[in-house]
């Protein structure tokens, strides 16, 4: 078949038009699909829960109260007890006022508050910096209730999240944790060497309709509930008691509130 230049150009032009038209149809499909999936998730996300915890420090009376709470967590989640502080793994632990609330300590503050150990754990932030920096999306924020979770399968151990977290809530497994687990809970996995781990707000218990283990073991010192529900117990406490959060100026929006109290007048 022979073709002169004029026919060739006509044919080329026409096929380009057809090709572009095809592309736009294809784009239409993709956009529709994306919009449809967004529409599917968006209402759930806005109507979703925001789980939070209020810690009433005045209800911790003795060192045993703190121990019972962290033991409840660490024993069911197979958190190893490693004595070497550089390798230590912590999900819930205690620290002093000036470390927990830096910049808010005062020289003339009540002695008992300065010396009081404060239970600390992952804050399950509204805008978690650990989630932003995770290169593999191993750490993510659950849309349904705001729990910041980890998929240990995907964690590559880069520790960006540890650098990003302003609360030191994350621990890295420098060694195989198994030998350091005192009593293995066979219904929960352990972690492995080379992954980061942290508190999961007891996602596995929440899913079974239970409260987090620390809350259950705290005899009412820890209260757990939904911040988006005006009648929840956490909202009731927050509306009647003065509560503070850790480093609120950083804008991460922690979900853990501390009622300091100290005595009945507070």
């Amino acid at each position: 078949m022979s073709m002169d230049r004029r026919d060739f150009l006509k044919l080329a032009g026409a096929s380009t038009l057809v090709g572009l038209g095809g592309l736009s149809v294809f784009d239409g499909f993709v956009k529709d699909g994306a919009l449809a999936s967004q529409a599917h998730t968006a209402p759930g996300a806005s109507a979703g829960k925001r789980l939070a915890m209020v810690i009433d420090v005045s209800k911790f009376k003795s060192p045993d109260d703190y121990k019972r709470v962290s033991y409840a967590c660490h024993s069911i989640h197979n958190v190893p007890s490693i004595d070497n502080l550089k390798h230590e793994i912590k999900w819930i632990w205690t620290d002093t006022y000036e470390h927990v609330f830096p910049g808010q300590a005062d020289q003339y503050m009540a002695e008992n508050i300065m010396r009081l150990p404060f239970p600390v754990l992952c804050n399950h932030c509204a805008k978690p910096p650990c989630v932003r920096v995770c290169p593999t999306k191993a750490t993510f924020k659950r849309k349904s209730d705001g729990v910041v979770m980890m998929d240990y399968h995907r964690c590559i151990g880069c520790r960006f999240c540890m650098a990003a977290c302003p609360f030191g809530a994350r621990s890295f497994n420098w060694t195989d944790p198994r030998p350091y687990i005192r009593k293995l809970n066979t219904s929960f996995p352990t972690r492995t060497k080379g992954v980061v781990e942290k508190c999961n707000f007891c996602a596995e218990r929440l899913s079974a309709g239970l409260q987090p283990a620390c809350v259950e073991a705290s005899n009412g010192a820890l209260v757990f509930g939904d911040l988006h529900d005006p009648s929840s117990e956490v909202r009731e406490i927050l509306s009647s008691r003065y509560a503070i959060r850790r480093k609120p100026n950083l804008g991460t929006g922690p979900s853990i509130y501390y009622v300091i109290g100290g005595n009945e007048h507070a």
Binding site: H153, L184, S207
Partner: protein
């Protein structure tokens, strides 16, 4: 070509070494790890027919992982009962790890790292 015999001897030795695995195992029968004793028939676990489970369980486990960790969908119906989508609380609540996992993995020479974290006992 006065050194030709050296080359030929070298070639024979190399070929002998390379083919060693073949003639060392030639004619031996290898017992395949036993699979399901009962015929699974048309039964499915999720969307995978049980007969294909040997080749497709990895995809199933990956999907379970996403569903459990990210969607909080922790249970699956199988044969009229509800099971947890979990290696240690699901599969191994009935099956024996040695028989169900290890035997076949050893036979095909794969070393999945499930048990680095999941507890198989």
């Amino acid at each position: 070509m006065s050194d030709g015999w050296k080359i030929i001897a070298g070639l024979i030795i190399v070929i002998g070494l390379v083919t060693f695995p073949f003639y060392a195992n030639f004619g031996k029968t290898v017992e395949l790890p036993s699979t399901l004793e009962a015929d699974p028939g048309e039964m499915h676990l999720g969307d995978i027919p049980l007969v294909n489970m040997r080749s497709e369980h990895m995809q199933l486990l990956n999907r379970w992982r996403e569903e459990v960790v990210r969607e909080d969908e922790r249970y699956i119906m199988f044969d009229g009962d509800e099971y947890e989508k979990s290696l240690q609380n699901g599969c191994l609540s009935c099956h024996e790890k040695e028989d169900f996992c290890t035997k076949c993995h050893t036979f095909v020479g794969v070393r999945p790292y499930c048990w680095d974290c999941h507890i198989g006992m």
